[in-house]
């Protein structure tokens, strides 16, 4: 699947992955990952291993802690040759019970294998939300 088109990479990041995160759709989110995928939050060196273990647990925590999650303002660097896409974006989250939302300017590096996320690296502009 090395010849997946450019738009595949943009679509899996925006229309599948972040759409799933913003709508609390756990199965849609996890379907973007390989079973043995690893997600690393680099700014705090927090590592989540395994789609159905560490990564699922991380999203359960994220979803439980926030009333609203929104990702937008994307700028992508997509590379079909290396099966990778690096994305810059804004994040707004409203913690459970809070009146105000928090704003982040983050980036993710997604490395794909056969059309799904194999390794994901997250940089956050503020405190790590992905614990």
């Amino acid at each position: 699947m090395a010849d997946l088109p450019y738009e595949y990479y943009v679509d899996i990041v925006t229309k599948r992955y972040f759409d799933g995160v913003d709508n609390y759709n756990m199965e849609q989110v996890l379907d973007c990952f390989h079973e043995d995928a690893v997600l690393t939050e680099v700014t705090s060196m927090t590592v989540h291993e395994g789609r159905d273990a560490g990564i699922r647990t991380m999203f359960e925590g994220l979803f439980a802690a926030h009333d609203r999650i929104w990702h937008g303002n994307f700028v992508h660097t997509g590379d079909t040759e290396t099966q990778a896409i690096c994305s810059q974006f804004s994040v707004e989250v409203t913690p459970k019970g809070a009146a105000d939302f928090l704003r982040y300017e983050n980036c993710n590096r997604f490395y794909l294998k056969d059309g799904k996320f194999d390794r994901v690296f997250v940089y956050m502009s503020g405190e790590n939300l992905l614990k």
């Binding site: 680099v42 660097t77 290396t82 990778a84 690096c86 980036c107 590096r109 502009s125």
Partner: protein, 132 residues
């Protein structure tokens, strides 16, 4: 902002790794600044620090190069979007001060290229920002 770049894949990688980072490590300030347009902007996104315009970028690099005895950038992984004039690199930055103390960062840079130079640079750092 979407820019038009005149560089292909190899040209984008050469600009980021050889013309830029290799010259940062050599502390060749003029060669580093030659990678930037006069109205370029560097944003250290993880620290919300912005350096706008070549003179401010020069000042930042003068301080950065003066603060560290040796500067080494290594272990690059590049992601190249030549259609859109963008390149991303993750890398290890190893900074050693005059007392031999070393700071190691695992960073990612995003470059947006206009014609054949940097127009916008975004840096995401794993630790404290040394580009102040």
């Amino acid at each position: 902002m979407q820019y038009q770049s005149s560089l292909g894949r190899e040209g984008l990688v050469d600009l980021a790794l050889q013309q830029y980072f290799a010259n940062v490590d050599k502390k060749d300030l003029d060669a580093v600044l030659d990678c930037f347009h006069d109205n370029a902007m560097i944003t250290v996104q993880t620290a919300f620090t912005v350096h706008a315009g070549k003179e401010n970028i020069r000042r930042m690099f003068v301080d950065f190069m003066g603060a560290w005895e040796t500067i080494v950038h290594r272990d690059f992984t590049c992601t190249v979007d030549e259609t859109n004039g963008r390149i991303t690199a993750c890398f290890t930055a190893e900074l050693t001060d005059n007392d031999g103390n070393t700071t190691v960062l695992h960073n990612t840079n995003f470059w947006r290229i206009r014609e054949n130079k940097f127009q916008e640079v975004y840096i995401y750092m794993s630790g404290e920002n040394p580009l102040t």
